[in-house]
C-alpha cells in the first residue's frame, strides 16, 4: 500500500512538472514518466494487458513521436507575456 501511495504521489508531481517545465523535452520525459508509473499502477490493479499496452504505447511510442515533433519545431516554450 505504501508503495502505491508513493507512486501516486510521484506521478502527480511528474504530471505537474510536465506542466511547469519550460524545456519541452523535459516536459515530454515527464509525461513518459507519468505513463510509466501508470503502467505500474495498472499492474497493481490486476490489469497486466493494459499495463503492457500503456508501457509500450504510452511510455515509449508516444514519447518518441513527441520528441520527433519537438525536433521538427521548437524546443523551448516562450515566455508568456500577459495572461
Amino acid at each position: 500500500m505504501i508503495l502505491e501511495i508513493i507512486l501516486v504521489f510521484v506521478m502527480l508531481i511528474a504530471a505537474a512538472a510536465a506542466g511547469i517545465f519550460k524545456d519541452l523535452l523535459n516536459a515530454v520525459i515527464a509525461v513518459g514518466f507519468v505513463s510509466f508509473i501508470a503502467a505500474i499502477l495498472f499492474y497493481f490493479l490486476q490489469a497486466p494487458d493494459v499495463a503492457m499496452a500503456e508501457a509500450s504505447i504510452g511510455a515509449a511510442l508516444t514519447v518518441a513521436i513527441f520528441i520527433i515533433a519537438i525536433k521538427k519545431t521548437k524546443r523551448f516554450e516562450e515566455d508568456e507575456e500577459g495572461s
Binding site: 502527480l12 509525461v31 507519468v34 501508470a38 490493479l45 490486476q46 490489469a47 499496452a53 500503456e54 513527441f66
Partner: protein, 119 residues
Amino acid sequence: MEFIENYLYYIASFGLILIGLYIILIKKNLIKMIIGLSIMDTGVNILLISMGYLSGGTAPIFSRENLLPSRMVDPVPQALVLTAIVIGLAIIALALSLTIVLYRHYGTLNTRKIRDLKW
C-alpha cells in the same frame, strides 16, 4: 488510512485529469497543450480501470488451475482501456502532425501569436 485506501486511485486519476485540463486551459504553447491532453488520457484510463477493480482479486486470466471467476477483477474496463490507449495515441499523433505543419506556416507554436487562434 482507510480513506486513502479507498480513494487513492480516484485521487490519482482525477488529479491527472485536472492537471491535464489545467494545462490545456492555461498554456499557450501547442505542444504543451497536447502534453496536457496526453496526461488527461492517462488519468481517464486509470479511472476506468479502478472502476472495475475488486479488492484482493486476480487478473482475469485462467493461467493456473483453481482460479475462481468470482475472485477476478472486471475484464470489461480493461478491454475499454486498451481501446482508449490506442485512440489516445492516434489523436496525439494527428495533433502533433498538425502542429508541425502549423509551425511550417507560422514559425511559432504560441497560440497567442498565431492569428485569431485563441481559446
